[in-house]
């Protein structure tokens, strides 16, 4: 691979049952040293676009393991979390920039698409290392419904999301 100036960029190939083989810059790998909860061996991922605003978080090691994620900052201001400063996996320190990825559970019926606000992934942007953090707070649901009725007719601005201060709790 090469960048825009033509310089060689080290790349790796990840295998995917869904997308075939993908060549990506080696530096784009995101590492979760402890894996994700339930997937302790899944430590290396790459991220790329899905249907906006969703992204794929695809395992760099397991061709059949992928998650759909959405930016956690999309849920602000209701979804304000204390980052896991001092965490060993991500080495996230106060002042570091980070991303929050929220795992989405897609179901055959899109109306049932939910986001897991209780256990977001924090990624330290300095070293691209991350960790899944559980927030033991009843305000945050593991199944926060993302569905709103689509706007009719012409493209409208998205309806305001939950009213400010509303709980991000949701029906099961």
């Amino acid at each position: 691979m090469s960048d825009e100036s033509g310089a060689k960029v080290p790349s790796i190939v990840i295998h995917s049952t869904r997308f075939g083989d993908l060549e990506v810059p080696a530096a784009s790998v995101i590492e979760f040293p402890s894996g994700l909860i339930g997937f302790p061996k899944a430590t290396k991922f790459v991220m790329f676009d899905h249907k906006p605003p969703f992204s794929w978080l695809h395992s760099a090691e397991d061709p059949s393991l992928a998650f759909v994620v959405v930016d956690g900052f999309e849920f602000a201001p209701e979804f304000t979390l204390k980052p896991p400063y001092g965490d060993r996996d991500s080495d996230l320190q106060e002042g570091d920039e980070y991303a929050i990825l929220v795992i989405v559970t897609v179901r055959p019926d899109p109306k049932q698409t939910t986001a897991n606000l209780k256990a977001p992934l924090f990624v330290n942007l300095k070293n691209r290392k991350g960790v899944q953090v559980i927030y033991d707070n009843p305000k945050f649901s593991t199944r926060f419904s993302l569905w709103v009725e689509p706007a009719e007719g012409e493209e409208k601005k998205a309806e305001p999301t939950a009213p400010a201060g509303a709980d991000l709790k949701d029906k099961k």
């Binding site: 960048d3 998650f67 959405v70 930016d71």
Partner: protein
């Protein structure tokens, strides 16, 4: 499983982690834990809930009938879309941090085609990244 008997006020160590029986209260036992910050402590039921949701999310994401493909074109989720991130809503409660877009290995204008579709995946907004899609044997 190792089973030890302790009285209220007594402790035990698991590595660097000190576990103290604080109080007996009928059917409930209050436990105190002194652990380094990097040790993650969860109630079992919450841990299991997250584990199951992670597994469900992974299964759903990789199954061929992912519901996102069938979404109406004009549908918008309850979140507001990537453009809103970092735009500074002026809300003090919202932390102003970079969005996750910097994490992407590459970006396409309309996502990556599913397996079985033809053609290379072209770099959209980050043209410096070339993504080659190699053919699988099963595609031939």
């Amino acid at each position: 499983m190792l089973i030890l008997t302790r009285k209220p006020g007594e402790s035990l160590y698991i590595g660097d982690v000190k576990v103290t029986i604080v109080e007996l209260k009928g059917h409930q036992i209050r436990i105190g834990i002194d652990a380094p910050p990097e040790i993650r402590i969860y109630r079992e039921e919450i841990y299991v809930q997250i584990l199951e949701e992670n597994k469900k999310a992974a299964e759903a994401a990789t199954s061929t009938s992912s519901g996102l493909e069938g979404l109406p074109a004009n549908w918008k989720p309850r979140v507001s879309g990537p453009s809103a991130v970092g735009s500074g809503s002026g809300d003090d409660a919202a932390p102003k941090k970079p969005s996750m877009s910097g994490l992407a290995a590459f970006s396409t204008s309309h996502g990556v085609q599913g397996a079985g579709s033809d053609g290379d995946v072209k770099g959209g907004s980050s043209p410096q990244v070339i993504v080659k899609r190699k053919r699988k044997k099963s595609d031939e």
